[in-house]
């Protein structure tokens, strides 16, 4: 590695180290305050106790199977939003009148607090996985539609002209040019949708006390298992962060080098 | 080349200014032992090829760059930050897009706490001076590039600086607008007897407006020559056609050309070094 390269690595490593050190220091201070009695340990359990209960929660509460349950719901919602979202986006692209009429409605739906209607979904689908999946689906659908539309509409004119110059048929034009060109943007839409879906799915699991990870937190809270509740929340946040990071990596891998 | 002489009347004195930068390829010297003086009421241009360090010099005098060796003194006080006697006009678009013309121009007065009625009146005077009366309530977004630069100029003049420091303020404008705005600046300068320091790469502009021109070498930037421009005042852009004018331009171009080609060769060498291995 040349001298400049080495220099820049240090410039990035130092702030990251400071960040991590601050977080560790914060938790160490918290531990101290709680053990010292300044902070009530029946409201905030000491971090050591929380870490300690991880193992217990993992085994006793079947975290692995819960994790896969939640994952299954997300996957189902993911498949649904991809199928219907891409199809919807394509329809809006293909039929301009439809786009002009409904695009703002789709955008409004994206901003609408769909999850607030969860009692309604419960009435329709019962207290079941389908309520959870459907809420995830409805909340996550708009970004996929909008990004698909954006990707297809935004294909650079010159690429379309290249296709025309080769006398491609409509179908060939779509599959060989428009679709691959729109793919990165469509993936951004699916990524956004998946994140919305996960957040809503875990949230609803918590609210209706059914499902995998979200339900676990609700359960532990109702049992007044303080350390367990904190541990479960930490775990779910961790899963959420890892999910988000992997989606980002996947998108970067899919996107051609600009 | 005689060393610049400083007289007790000098309003700005730069002495042995050295500016160094750390870059990916190692340290470079942008400004190398530059010394000069500016006399009250005079129009001094600093001209040089790209890469001669004139922007660094601009930032040093303006107090935005304090990491340098040597001193710059204004009316006896050493500069170690933006000085109240120096007003800066930047090369880039610098009007505040969310304020109208009058509020833009009144900005420095607002900062020192001048009451509203008084600062609006003061601002209107300078707006008229740059020829934008009638546009007080317009927003920069509604004006052309040249008009926006005039607003920036009026704003700086409103702070009534002893020295007006400008960094290629007309670089983004087309030639005709530039010449006409140059006329305007000259007219204002002569009316206010404003000491002005102009950084530029445009020879015509420098000769048109200046009493003296300081020619800089390519990096590391040193003072190559100081040329006295003895063209009659008051001047307008019409002078561009005169014979004396042409001679001055030729003289300065002869100096600059050498420096500019050195600059170009340097850049070519750079590009070659960075070429990816095929």
């Amino acid at each position: 590695m040349s001298a400049p390269g080495r220099r820049f690595a240090i410039y990035d490593a130092l702030p990251a180290a400071v960040g991590i050190a601050t977080v560790i220091a914060f938790f160490a201070a918290l531990e101290g305050l709680i053990q010292g009695g300044v902070v009530n340990r029946f409201i905030v359990p000491p971090p050591s106790e929380i870490i300690g209960s991880f193992g217990r929660v993992f085994v006793e509460e079947h975290i692995v199977s819960r994790f896969f349950f939640t994952l299954g719901e997300c996957l189902m919602a993911g498949v649904m939003i991809t199928v219907f979202g891409v199809a919807g986006g394509f329809l809006l692209y293909r039929y301009k009148l439809l786009q002009q009429a409904t695009e703002t409605w789709v955008a409004a739906l994206a901003a609408a607090p769909v999850v607030l209607a969860y009692p309604l979904f419960m009435v329709i689908f019962g207290r079941s996985a389908w309520t959870i999946i459907m809420i995830g689906f409805v909340a996550a659908l708009p970004p996929v539609i909008l990004k698909t539309l954006e990707g297809l509409s935004g294909t650079r004119k010159v690429l379309v002209n290249v296709g025309k110059s080769f006398n491609l048929t409509g179908s060939q034009q779509f599959w060989k040019i428009m679709f691959p060109a729109a793919l990165p943007t469509m993936f951004v839409g699916v990524r956004l949708g998946l994140i919305f879906a996960l957040i809503n799915i875990v949230g609803v699991e918590f609210l209706i006390n059914y499902g995998g990870l979200g339900q676990l937190i609700n359960d532990l809270a109702e049992r007044y298992d303080l350390a367990g509740t904190y541990a479960a929340i930490c775990f779910v946040i961790l899963v959420s962060v890892v999910f988000f990071m992997s989606l980002e990596k996947a998108e970067r891998w899919l996107r051609p080098v600009d | 080349m005689s060393p610049p002489s400083t007289t007790p009347n000098d309003i700005l004195v730069a002495k042995d200014v050295i500016v160094r930068f750390e870059t990916a390829e190692g340290p470079i010297v942008a400004v190398d032992n530059v010394s000069f003086d500016v006399r009250p009421g005079e129009f001094l241009s600093v001209i040089g090829p790209s890469g001669c360090g004139k922007s660094s010099l601009f930032n040093v005098i303006g107090g935005l760059l304090t990491n340098h060796q040597g001193t710059v003194q204004v009316a006896g006080e050493t500069i170690d930050g933006p000085h109240k006697s120096i007003g800066m006009v930047f090369q880039e678009e610098s009007t505040f897009p969310w304020r109208n013309v009058v509020d833009n121009v009144a900005f420095p007065l607002e900062l020192i706490g001048m009451p509203k009625a008084k600062r609006v009146e003061r601002a209107k005077y300078f707006i008229k001076l740059v020829g934008l009366d009638g546009f007080e309530n317009r927003y920069p977004g509604e004006l052309s590039g040249g008009m926006r630069q005039r607003v920036s100029l009026a704003r700086t003049l409103a702070s009534e600086p002893k020295i007006l420091l400008m960094d290629e303020p007309f670089a983004a404008l087309d030639e005709q607008t530039r010449l006409l705005l140059g006329d305007k600046v000259l007219q204002i300068q002569q009316q206010l007897q404003q000491t002005t320091l102009l950084i530029t790469h445009n020879i015509t502009e420098a000769v048109q407006m200046s009493d003296r021109i300081l020619v800089m070498t390519y990096r590391p930037g040193k003072v190559k020559r100081i040329v006295d421009i003895n063209l009659p005042r008051p001047r307008t852009s019409e002078i561009v056609g005169s014979e004396a004018f042409g001679r001055y331009v030729a003289e300065i171009w002869a100096d600059l050309r050498e420096e500019a080609s050195r600059g170009m060769k340097d850049e070519e060498q750079h590009a070659l070094n960075e070429a990816p291995a095929s």
Partner: protein
């Protein structure tokens, strides 16, 4: 058919009758008709899809009841408080991170990755810390809206045209003046956008918390309607809620646009 012909001829000069509007009206009518059909068909469990008449009546009852406005006020106050606390602290943190590159590299990744996580799961902790009253709802709303506001503010700081800051420096503006007269106006678009996002998530966070554990507020009323299976009332409340939420979103967006003085 003759009617269509007439419309087509006058279309260009009568935007009200444009094909787009016609399609929209057609879709809306179609949905309304389909709904009513579904309601009367007895296909689904009776009150899951109540007739429009029932929903209309429930809506009228709702909007004329003092009890509803009281609860609406409670929720609005909670959301307002959450937005104020989360918004101001988010803005302060965002400005700090945007201004200082080192701090941004050290701490912004945490905000960025912790942002898109379900915040409602923190509710049990909020109840422990702030009790079962409005405090825990406000706390959850604050937690929700802190992140988007902070991230928008940080990004907003970085997109400020550097020359404007130099102008402030050249006129020797002090820190306070620089923040108020240059940073904040220059960031007005990202700030408005951040507030819009913040409002959206604060609304969701606060309302979900109300549905989970509360005895006041719109969320509480919704869950109450659910528990007694008063479907028309629930639909009515959801309709009002969605209209208000989308309306508030559009209003804030419009407010940002009114100050548009773009280069």
């Amino acid at each position: 058919m003759a009617e269509t012909g007439r419309l087509t001829r006058t279309a260009p000069s009568a935007p009200l009758l444009s094909p787009v509007t016609l399609l929209r009206v057609a879709i809306i009518l179609g949905v309304l008709a389909g709904w009513e059909l579904l309601s009367r068909s007895g296909w689904l469990y009776r009150d899951v899809v109540p007739s429009w008449l029932a929903i209309g009546k429930a809506l009228a009852d709702l909007l004329s009841s003092g009890e509803y406005y009281f609860n609406l006020g409670v929720t609005a106050a909670e959301i307002g408080a959450a937005l104020a606390i989360g918004g101001i602290s988010g803005m302060a943190v965002g400005i700090l991170l945007g201004a200082n590159r080192f701090l941004a590299k050290a701490f912004e990744p945490y905000l960025y990755y912790l942002g898109p996580t379900p915040k409602i799961i923190f509710f049990p902790i909020m109840i422990m810390w702030f009790g079962v009253g409005p405090g825990s709802k406000i706390a959850l709303g604050t937690l929700s809206c802190f992140f988007p506001v902070a991230l928008s503010a940080a990004a907003g700081m970085r997109q400020i045209d550097k020359v404007l800051i130099k102008v402030g420096k050249s006129f020797r503006a002090n820190t306070w003046q620089t923040v108020w007269k240059i940073y904040l106006p220059a960031m007005r678009h990202p700030i408005i956008n951040g507030v819009r996002l913040g409002l959206g998530v604060a609304l969701i966070g606060t309302l979900l918390a109300e549905t989970k554990l509360s005895n006041k507020g719109v969320g509480f009323l919704i869950i109450q309607a659910y528990s007694v299976f008063d479907m028309p009332r629930m639909y009515a409340m959801l309709i009002v809620l969605f209209v208000l939420a989308i309306g508030a979103n559009a209003l804030v967006g419009r407010l940002g646009g009114l100050h548009t003085i773009r280069r």
